[in-house]
């Protein structure tokens, strides 16, 4: 019997879906708290979290950051750069603040 991978779906304002590993999503304490809540929220049951205030390009960049962070945590050598185009920086900053990332 296959156990599905531990994944989480993050949904942007426009309804774009980003499927990431549970481990990656938990780089954000906000998401980690939403998913581990005992209250039986939809988020916990279906492993989906909606972000109506975060646009798809920003949410995608956030997801890329999660994986960058996982890779940094593992590697003992030099960390690769995480490039942020200036026009995305502000929205990304706001999203990061909300997500506590």
């Amino acid at each position: 019997m296959e156990k599905p991978r531990e994944t989480v779906k993050l949904i942007s304002a426009e309804g774009y879906e980003f499927v990431v590993d549970y481990e990656a999503a938990c780089v954000s304490s906000t998401i980690r708290n939403m998913l581990s809540s005992q209250g039986g929220f939809t988020e916990t049951e279906r492993g989906e979290v909606r972000f109506p205030e975060i646009s798809a390009p920003v949410l995608e960049k956030v997801c890329q950051y999660f994986y960058y962070k996982l890779q940094c945590n593992r590697s003992t050598g030099a960390t690769p750069e995480f490039h942020i185009p200036p026009e995305e920086a502000l929205e990304l900053l706001m999203a990061a603040n909300f997500l506590d990332t």
Binding site: R5, E14, E17, V19, Q64, Y67
Partner: protein, 100 residues
């Protein structure tokens, strides 16, 4: 090695993004992973049989038995996913872009 690979985490060195329409799946992989094993992982996530999906890197259709590094697929690369439609034909790869 006859055993089914487990889903537990061996250290994967890179991630890829597999896109179809409005969906992006982030997958942790190794450059030496073969296309068929990536499809198996996806199949578990999207609940489709791996026979009913094709993976593309740009305009290159990825062969089952070749590795990701064979196609020059590196960290953060975007792959296109196409499903087999009810007619039996594969759809074209469509990746929706957000209008800003």
């Amino acid at each position: 090695m006859g055993d089914q690979p487990e889903n537990d985490v061996e250290e994967k060195t890179m991630y890829i993004r597999v896109k179809r329409k409005k969906m992006t799946v982030f997958l942790q992989v190794n450059p030496t992973d073969v296309v068929s094993s990536v499809k198996e992982t996806l199949a578990g996530l999207v609940e489709k049989s791996s026979d009913d999906m094709r993976l593309w890197s740009g305009s290159v259709l990825l062969d089952e038995n070749k590795s990701l590094e064979h196609f020059g697929i590196g960290n953060g690369a975007v792959l296109g996913l196409a499903y087999r439609s009810d007619t039996g034909e594969f759809e074209d790869v469509i990746i929706e872009q957000v209008d800003n």
